[in-house]
Amino acid sequence: MKNNLLGKRYLVRIFWILILGIIWESIALSGRFSPLIFPSVQNVIESLFKSIISGEIIGETLYSLNLICKSLFIGIIIAMVLSILSVRSKVFEGLVETLIAIAHPLPGIALLPLIILWLGTGSSAIVFIIVHSVVWPMVLNLSTGFKSIPNIYKQLGDNYELGLFEIIRHILIPASFPYFLAGVKIGWARAWRALISAEMVFGAAGGIGGLGWFIFKKRVFMDTAGIYSGLIVIVLIGILVEDMLFNKLEKATVKKWGMSI
């Protein structure tokens, strides 16, 4: 039943994508717009396949994904440390709240000139921007998560004489997991946006760039179909991560536990 519904959802999606594709194609074929602005679906797909076969887009996608995984990992670690500190100590709570108030409204891109001064234009600058855009919303989520752990779990932990390891592994982590997951989802979405924008500005560092760089190159060469193929890859990765990774993870954890927030 559930599988059927899910299958139906995909069918509906594919149906609308087809409809939109047909509308697109007929506008392109009508010749009202220059193919430089409005390439046909066929051109876009051709261009996508060409870049897949040449390995160009694959290499650049992997480069982007590698950067984003690295930065998300660093971001999660920093966010965990900051939120644990802010939950454990009143002094740190004030500091972390102030940091969030200052840094959270700052778009990563606005920091670009500064970051270029500090770190140059290499991949470490991109990592910095992603980490910045990921850390603050994650700290907010994680510390809310830690604070929302009901007091009764602490009493149970005391009463059943649980050790620190058991309390962390079997109570604190699962109890705050819904917030953690929500934080990672926001983090991922923000990281992905930050990454693409940063790559467009920085271009390739040391001869290799990511998806943002791919799109940027295509614009330089006036390869509009190529730009669209880059966009398609970005959308596909977004859908894959959302549907495959996050939805599966939610089903296996918070949904199974009845703990959605």
Partner: protein, 251 residues
């Protein structure tokens, strides 16, 4: 009957708005091994506070509580609390693992199999044998409390502490769970301290009833309840006892 727990000259204050509020005033009582003792009183009489001191979640300001002649200073496995809160199970563990987890954490039982056997035994005792794989959110309120009782019993505590565990359940479920508590007591002969504000519940379960007064919380009287079991609230002896306890509470 031998004494298992002794509460001596216990007083407890709460600080509220810079004012010292006396919540428990000079409590003296003992608990016998293998009895069901009910602590009965109106809300605000400090009965849950008293139970928290016995559990070790909180310390008395004056006086002491001794379990087997040792002063209680912190929560321990020999006194396990079952709370009123319907969310006392861990939602991320299924029913079976909610029971197994504390056993495993305390290395009770020699093997995984032994722990599973033990958990299964107590889950059957609370009639949850068909719900091992259920997660807490899939259970009714009554089933959750039964699982929590099984988890407490599996530890094999000397005293089972129950803080209005059936307080948020409807009357039918409550009655059947009361029967279950008596059933468990007959099988295990465990000592139970049961806090409630429900006179009928206290009479149904207890060997003795500690009747408390509020503002400040103190013991009014301790009533021996020798009604023959099974007890039925429509029996005339039951209603006589009810009147007696009711009048004492109203005094």
């Amino acid at each position: 009957m031998s004494m298992i727990l002794e509460i001596k000259d216990l007083s407890k204050y709460f600080i509220a708005e810079n004012e010292k509020l006396l919540v428990l005033d000079n409590i003296n009582m003992t608990v016998n091994k293998g009895e069901i003792l009910c602590i009965l009183g109106p809300s605000g009489c400090g009965k849950s506070t008293l139970l928290n001191q016995i559990a070790g979640f909180d310390k008395p300001d004056i006086g002491y509580i001794k379990l087997n002649k040792t002063i209680i200073s912190k929560p321990e496995l020999n006194r396990i609390m079952v709370f009123q809160d319907l969310n006392q199970l861990f939602p991320w563990k299924n029913v079976l693992h909610n029971v197994v987890f504390p056993l495993k954490a305390n290395k009770i039982g020699n093997s995984k199999l032994e722990r599973l056997k033990k958990a299964e035994k107590y889950l059957s005792m609370v009639k949850l044998e068909d719900f091992h794989n259920y997660y807490p959110h899939q259970l009714s309120g009554g089933m959750k409390q039964r699982a929590a009782i099984a988890r407490a019993l599996a530890i094999n505590p000397e005293i089972l502490l129950m803080d209005e565990p059936f307080g948020s359940l409807d009357i039918q479920i409550r009655t059947s769970l009361q029967k279950m508590v008596i059933d468990i007591w007959q099988k295990t002969n465990i000592t139970v301290i049961f806090v409630t504000h429900d006179i009928q519940e206290a009479i149904t379960l207890s060997h003795r009833i500690v009747v408390m007064d509020k503002n400040p919380g103190r013991i009014k009287n301790i009533i021996n309840n020798t009604l023959p079991r099974p007890r039925n609230s429509i029996d005339s002896v039951f209603s006589e006892m009810y009147k007696k306890v009711y009048n004492l509470l109203e005094e």
